[in-house]
Point group: C2
Chain length 155, copies 2
């Protein structure tokens, strides 16, 4: 694939220019924030390498780098819940991506079975901290959908 | 401060439990997605260390770790544009935070002067990639507000 990323020549170009010059970290990754195009809900936080970002831009389907599986990951390849990209943004210093997506299939983005990966809020009462489930029921049963696959969560 | 973070004992506890057991990376950081409580707009993508996350939870005001300045950063300390936290969420494997905030002062979150750090979209037409300014005017003049401070953007 031809190179679509420009050199980060100077700060003014990065912050105020019209050229795409993303910053990939030492592991070759850039974080990606994923929201629902219609509800604006935050669905997930992932990472892209150069190839994933290029595919996401060119094909309009979200691709990520799976840090646990250590491979390119076309979201929804197993579950059918692919993410169609409606808009892509980049931030001021070009080290974070935001994509607005329309989720296909059952419409969930979380491997645990919830619609959003952010299904729990953090509650603080009188110094006691706990998590509260904001999504009450799962959209799908991960054991059915991902049967035989390893859980990507790492401790 | 007493410890408020629990050990990441097993995957079920991390994914399905009610205990806060965030994963900080090798640099001691966890990414934080920041959206506007009313408009749901994505405002910024930052990082928190343990202290910043604890202060954010306990005080209800967003704190980050500034990777460029290498110090705890109470957002808005210079500009007055503090972020009042309305809700905090954590994701499935507890390695990303989402905060919904109400921005004080002039209501902007981007050091370049825009409301959101994500003021440019990525456009792709016939293989040509460019950035489009989605915010047309700055909310404030960064040279006035941050006079004498170093730009945090790094190449």
């Amino acid at each position: 694939m031809p190179k679509i990323f420009l050199p980060r020549s100077d700060i003014e170009f990065v912050e105020e220019g019209k050229g795409l010059a993303p910053k990939f970290d030492k592991h070759g990754l850039i974080p990606a924030v994923v929201t629902d195009n219609k509800t604006n809900e935050l669905l997930m936080h992932g990472y892209m390498n150069k190839e994933a970002l290029e595919l996401t831009i060119k094909e309009g389907i979200a691709h990520y780098w799976s840090r646990s599986r250590k491979k390119l990951w076309k979201k929804g390849a197993t579950s059918g819940m692919t993410q169609i990209v409606k808009d892509i943004f980049i931030d001021d210093d070009q080290d974070a991506i935001w994509i607005k997506v329309e989720v296909q299939g059952l419409g969930a983005s979380c491997h645990v079975g919830y619609r959003s990966c952010f299904y729990r809020s953090i509650q603080s009462h009188n110094g006691k901290i706990s998590l509260k489930f904001e999504e009450k029921t799962k959209v799908f049963d991960p054991e059915e959908v991902y049967s035989g696959s390893e859980n990507p969560t790492q401790l």
